[in-house]
Every structure is written in C-alpha cells, then in structure tokens.
C-alpha cells in the first residue's frame, strides 16, 4: 500500500506526530489567551500581552531547561533517523541518496549532526514556552525522561539503517512509539497548564 509512492501507514504516523506537536502549539496559544482573558476580567488597569508574559515568567531551573533544549534538539534527529535514514518510507529523500556520506565510517553521526542543526535552532526558542507554566517538580522529572526515549528511538532507527535492505517492523514501531511518547511528554506541561486554566 503506497501513498504517492510511500508507505501509507508510516505517513499517517508522521501526520499524527506533527499533529501532537501542533496541538502543543495550539494549546499554548489558547492557554495564553485564557490567562489574558482571566486577568482582563479582574484587572482594573491597562496592560498588554507583553506585560502579562513578563509577569507570567517563572524560572524552571537550569537542569530542566537543559533537558528540554536537549529534547527538542533530539526530537528532530530522531524524526530524521526514523523517516529519512532508510529509503523504505521516502525513497527519494533519505540518507542513502547521499552516497558520499553514507559510505563514511562516521556517516550516521554526520547525518545526525545535520539533523541536529534545525532542531538546535528551534530548541533555542521553544523551551522558553515552559517558563509561562507552573510545572510541578514531579511533572518536570517525568518530562526530563524525554531524551532517554528519543535516544531509544534513534538507536532503533540506527539498527534499521544497519540491517538495511532487510527491514524489521518491530524496531520501526518501537522507535516510533518512543518518539511519539517523547512528543507527548514534551507537550505535557503545556497540556496540563491549559487544562488547569480551562477548569477555572
């Protein structure tokens, strides 16, 4: 079963993953709007969204921030490894299409670093989002498990890259599950913050 020449299942899974991340972004915007409306309802003086965001800012701790920066960076690496390492999902867009890199001893590493660059750029800005939420320490600890899941996903993908052209659906599914779980954990503080604000 192919969709525009690609495996339809994996493509749907990719859409789900993107949807999770988009959901996180949407919930964040809605959260800010909800807080703004609640403050507007109870505030006598004028303020703008910038003032509100400055007021909402709270330090989450350098360890947590580092873990979230690492998580967002690794997310893109894990995504690239799962979908672009072997030609099985995107035959035209994959690691093996660059034979000079693929034939190097450090080929996987170079591919990983290349995928890390956009991730790192995003990760500079995204973790700031967490500073607008009251995140319980227990939740922080859970969210901090994300890099482990992402590393697990990367290892599964690397295994698939090593055994290519043979394939192993179990490792792909495992890698995907870990990636999806990591994405859920990364937006969990935002989702919980949104739900708490929504209940008010």
């Amino acid at each position: 079963m192919n969709l525009l020449g690609h495996d339809i299942f994996e493509a749907y899974m990719l859409i789900c993953l993107v949807a999770i991340l988009l959901l996180g972004g949407t919930l964040h915007v809605m959260y800010l709007k909800m807080i703004e409306s609640m403050v507007l309802r109870t505030e006598e003086s004028d303020f703008n969204l910038g003032d509100l965001m400055r007021s909402m800012h709270i330090s989450q701790g350098s360890n947590f921030n580092i873990m979230m920066i690492l998580s967002w960076s690794l997310l893109f690496v894990a995504l690239a490894f799962l979908y672009l390492l072997t030609p099985s999902i995107f035959p035209e867009w994959n690691y093996f299409k660059i034979p000079r890199v693929a034939s190097l001893d450090w080929g996987f590493a170079i591919f990983g670093v290349a995928a890390l660059i956009p991730g790192a750029l995003i990760s500079i800005f995204v973790p700031k989002v967490y500073s607008y939420y009251l995140i319980h320490k227990r939740l922080k600890a859970i969210a901090a498990a994300t890099p482990v899941l992402l590393l697990g996903s990367i290892i599964c993908s690397m295994h698939l890259g090593i055994i290519y052209p043979t394939s192993n659906p179990f490792f792909w599914n495992l890698g995907y599950m870990m990636l999806a779980a990591a994405a859920v954990l990364m937006i969990l503080p935002i989702s919980i913050g949104f739900l708490e604000a929504w209940r008010q």
Partner: protein, 553 residues
C-alpha cells in the same frame, strides 16, 4: 519580595529546608547550575551545635562552598581564642557553647557584654580585626550578607532584597540568637527590610524535658527584646506562628507542620505579580506599608509607639499573624478564601481555620492580603472588610497570577489585639495566649531562681547582673507583671521598655567590675596606701604650717 531566609537553630533549619527545596530536577541524583528555590529565595542555616549539623545530609558547609549551606555561629572562634578566654574568665560565658539549652538569657548576656565591656571589645577587635562581635559579625558578613543585594556580587538581580529569619520561640539557639543577630544586621544596615518568623513552641514538656515554663520564658525574653526595639533599631515585623495551633491540626507530624508554614508563606514569595502590580510587592514597599501609621490612629489602634519615659519615643515593630487558606481553583470565591483564612464566626477553636496564631481578626489595625489566583482587588477588599470591619484604606492587596490547580490567600493581620478589657480570659485571642505564656514565665522565674542564676560556671558578676535583670527593681519579673496588667486592661503594646542584662551602660558594668576587684586584695593595700599618704602630708612642715594658719584665721 525575594528574601534571604535564615533558619536559626534546629527548628529554624527544619522549616528552612522546606523553603529551600529545589524546584529543579535532579539529573542522575545530581543538580547542576544555580539552586532554584520557590520564589528564587536563598537561604542559610545558622546552628551552634556542630553535632546537629553532622547528623544531617541536606545542608553542606558554607565554609566549604556548599549549598544549601549551614554555618556554625562560632565557627571563627578558635579553641584558644583570647576573646573566648577573657569572656570565660570574667563572666563564665562560653563563646563556643554547643547549643544553649533553652536559655535565651545566656546568649543575650553574651551579646550585650560585647557592647558594654570596652576591654572585651578591645580584645575582640585585636583578635577578629574588623568585628567588634565575633559571632554576629561572622554570621552577617560570611553567612547572610553575600546572599543579599547589599553584597558586591555582580549577579545582584538574583540576590535577596530582604531577610526573613526563622526561629523557634522557646527553643535554644534560635531563641537566643534571634535578637543579637537582627540587632547587629540593623546596626549595619539601617533600612534593609528584616522580618522574623517566630514559632512559639507548643504546650507541655518537650522531648528534651524542657518544661513549658522554661521554654515560655525563653520565648518571652526573645519576643520582648524583638518588640521593644524601635524603628531603625531592630526588626521590621514579627510574624507569629503558634505550634500549639499546628499540633492540634497535625498531631505529632512535625514535617507536616513545617510544610504548612512553608505553604502559608508561598503567596508572599510568589514572584508572578499581576501585570499592573509589578512594583507593589518589593520588600521596601512592604516594609513601608507595615510601618505605616494611619492618620487617625496614632495611638492604641495604630502601630504601637514606645511609651514616654521608657526610652526614646519611637514606633515599635508590629506583630503580624498569618492566616492562610487554599482551595481548588474552580471552587469557591474570594469570600470563601477569606473565611477559610480568618474563620467564619467570632472565634473558632484554634486549629479549625487558617489562623496560625490565636487572635481576633476584628482587632487588627491593618491587613496585608497576598493572593494567588484571579481576583479583583475590590472584591478581596470587600470580603476582608466584611470579616474584619476595617476600612478599605487599611487593607493592602498584593495579587499574584494563578494558573495552577489551586488558588490561595495569605492574610497578615497587623497587631490583632488590644482595645478591650478582659480579653485575656477569652480563649482564642492573642491576649489569652500571651497572658498564658507570660504567666508561665513568671511562675518559672519565681520558682527557679537557683536554676536561672546557678547555671554552669557563671561568675559572680554575671550572677549579679542576671539577678538584677530577672529579680531586681524594674527587672524582667516586675515588667512581666506590668505586661499582664496591660493585657488585662486591653492596652497595646504589651512589651514597652527595653531591658538589658548587662544593662545600664558601661557605668553599671564598670562599677560592678571595680567593686569585684576591690573586694579582693586590692582593698587592703589601697587603704594602707591612703593612710601612708595622709601621714606623709600631715608630717610635712609646710603642710603643718598651713593648717596652723587656717586654724588661727
């Protein structure tokens, strides 16, 4: 408000631990980077008993650069210190005493003697260079100051804009140290906000077999000294918590009590102000509001003034009683929070509502309300007004943003006592609780003269000074009887006249020292010397001639 929280003694250290809990995560059991406590506060545990610091693993040695840190108060005093030897030989007081066994007067004496014995001061300055008091100076300069914006550190924006001392009132180290250290800091920094959270110990005999009377005496001495130092001489406010109230709520769960105290103060420490209220809750602003006297209330109903004839007139620091309530964010409104914090009826049995010290909220002369949640200032004021009867301009509201599962409210009642005769008989009032501890203290003083004056190796001079302080005319005992009278009459303030052990300046001490020295061998030799001098004068021909001339004229 971002205070440097200083826990003194065992109880202070335990409560401080809650405040300093890291809000950050551990990475494989380790934490890197800056320690992050709630509200960005910093903290320090001051302890005199080295063995107590060794029995725990949470705090690390400040001297070794660890954080959260503990500091041994006498850490800079060596075993063979000249100052220590002088103090011990002259007064029988030990600078390195390992804990102070429920005796507030012991440390009070140690600190006062440094102020009033110039020779001791001289010895101390020679040994400790810039410090004329080796304990207070060390604690302030090495322990506390570096965490405050007064320090010269480059990261000033992350430093503390005030100090909150936490000490038990009725314990050992905290009860003894709280006055000397706050006075010292004030002498160094005249306008830096200094607050004290004092936790009155519960009723009955404690685990260390210290009787209620003995502990209450320590508490009364500490409170007395804290509350009789006028504006600019001591603390800015004493926040009172009664462990008896917490015991009724939590049974013997001391950790639960510590958590309760920490949670109650969270709205004060929260940095997420409402967008329009950003500058409201800086420490200097709160300090100003706490000291503010309302135009129409210059007397008993406003902030207390030191009485005339009781030293220089000045405003006295207020008592603040914290009242706290928390509820699920989607349940109830500000009225329910206010009622939860202050109680619904007149006076409920202690422990059934959010008051952390028995008091009648309607007696407060001013109220500071700290909320976390989404409320209108007007609605909060109306709710508080309904419960306390205070006018709107005496209710200060500090709103912090909500956003969590719960919303909560801390209400600080300023001086919720006085104005009505006979309130000491009504259980649940502040007068009733103060009357209780003062009565216990009086009983202890009257029945334990030997225990008070015969402690360890007190020298005669110290015993004499203590006797005057406790039992002398206008001494503590007399003053406490006056305090009881004021409580019965509904007068405020209760504590008015500052009292010292090494009291009336250097003259008293000097005379006493001279007297003691003369009493020894010097008196006889002086007598002999005077006799010889007189004989020489009268034997002198010139002198005899002059005397004859005077007699003839």
């Amino acid at each position: 408000m971002r205070p440097c929280i200083v826990g003194i003694g065992g109880a202070g250290g335990n409560i401080l631990r809650q405040f300093l809990q890291s809000q950050d995560i551990n990475l494989m059991g380790l934490q890197f980077g800056r320690h992050l406590a709630y509200g960005g506060v910093k903290g320090l545990w001051l302890e005199s008993a080295t063995q107590d610091t060794q029995r725990q693993s949470y705090y690390g040695s400040l001297v070794q650069g660890q954080y959260p840190p503990f500091l041994i108060c006498h850490g800079n005093v060596s075993e063979g210190s000249d100052t220590r030897r002088y103090l011990s030989d002259t007064y029988g007081l030990d600078l390195k005493a390992p804990g102070f066994d429920r005796r507030a007067e012991y440390l009070k004496g140690i600190f006062e003697v440094f102020e009033f014995d110039p020779k001791l001061k001289e010895v101390c300055l020679e040994e400790f260079k810039s410090n004329d008091n080796p304990l207070s100076g060390y604690m302030w300069q090495v322990g506390i100051r570096p965490h405050t914006i007064i320090s010269t550190s480059s990261a000033r924006s992350k430093l503390c804009d005030s100090i909150l001392f936490i000490a038990s009132l009725g314990g050992g180290t905290g009860t003894g140290f709280i006055n000397p250290i706050t006075s010292y800091v004030r002498s160094e920094e005249p306008i830096f906000p200094i607050f004290v959270l004092g936790i009155l110990t519960e009723k009955g005999t404690d685990k260390r077999k210290a009787t209620e009377g003995q502990r209450d005496l320590g508490a009364v001495i500490a409170m007395y000294d804290l509350l009789t130092k006028a504006s600019g001489e001591g603390i800015d406010a004493l926040i009172l918590v009664d462990n008896q109230t917490l015991v009724q709520r939590f049974g013997g769960n001391y950790t639960g009590m510590d958590v309760c105290i920490y949670n109650s103060l969270k709205p004060l420490l929260d940095l997420r102000n409402y967008p329009g209220d950003l500058l409201q809750d800086d420490s200097q602003g709160i300090r100003r509001v706490i000291w503010e006297v309302n135009g129409e209330n210059n007397g008993s109903n406003g902030i207390s003034r030191r009485r005339e004839g009781a030293g220089s007139e000045g405003l006295l620091p207020p008592i603040l009683v914290p009242c706290y309530c928390i509820q699920a964010a989607h349940e109830g409104d500000e009225l329910e929070l206010v009622e939860g914090a202050l109680g619904k009826g007149s006076l409920l049995p202690a422990g059934k509502d959010g008051r952390l010290f028995p008091c009648d909220p309607t007696k407060a002369d001013r109220v500071l309300v700290f909320t976390r949640g989404f409320f209108r200032t007007k609605d909060i004021k109306e709710a508080v007004q309904e419960r306390t009867g205070l006018s709107e301009n005496k209710i200060m509201v500090y709103r912090k943003l909500g956003g969590g599962k719960a919303e909560d409210m801390l209400i600080l009642l300023r001086n919720p006592y006085g104005g009505t005769i006979g309130e000491h008989k009504r259980p649940g009032t502040l007068e009733w609780r103060l009357h209780d501890i003062i009565t216990e203290s009086i009983n202890y003083i009257e029945n334990n003269e030997m225990n008070i004056l015969g402690f360890q190796s007190y020298k005669e001079i110290t015993k004499e000074m203590l006797r005057k302080y406790f039992y002398g005319k206008d001494g503590l005992l007399d003053e406490l009887y006056d305090c009881l009278e004021r409580l019965r009459e509904g007068e405020a303030p209760v504590f008015t006249r500052p009292l010292r052990i090494f009291g009336n300046g250097m003259n008293a001490l000097g005379n006493c020292q001279e007297e003691q020295q003369m009493a020894a061998s010097d008196r006889a030799s002086l007598r002999k010397m005077v006799k010889e001098e007189l004989r020489a004068i009268f034997n002198d021909q010139d002198c005899r001639r002059r005397i004859r001339e005077i007699l003839q004229s």
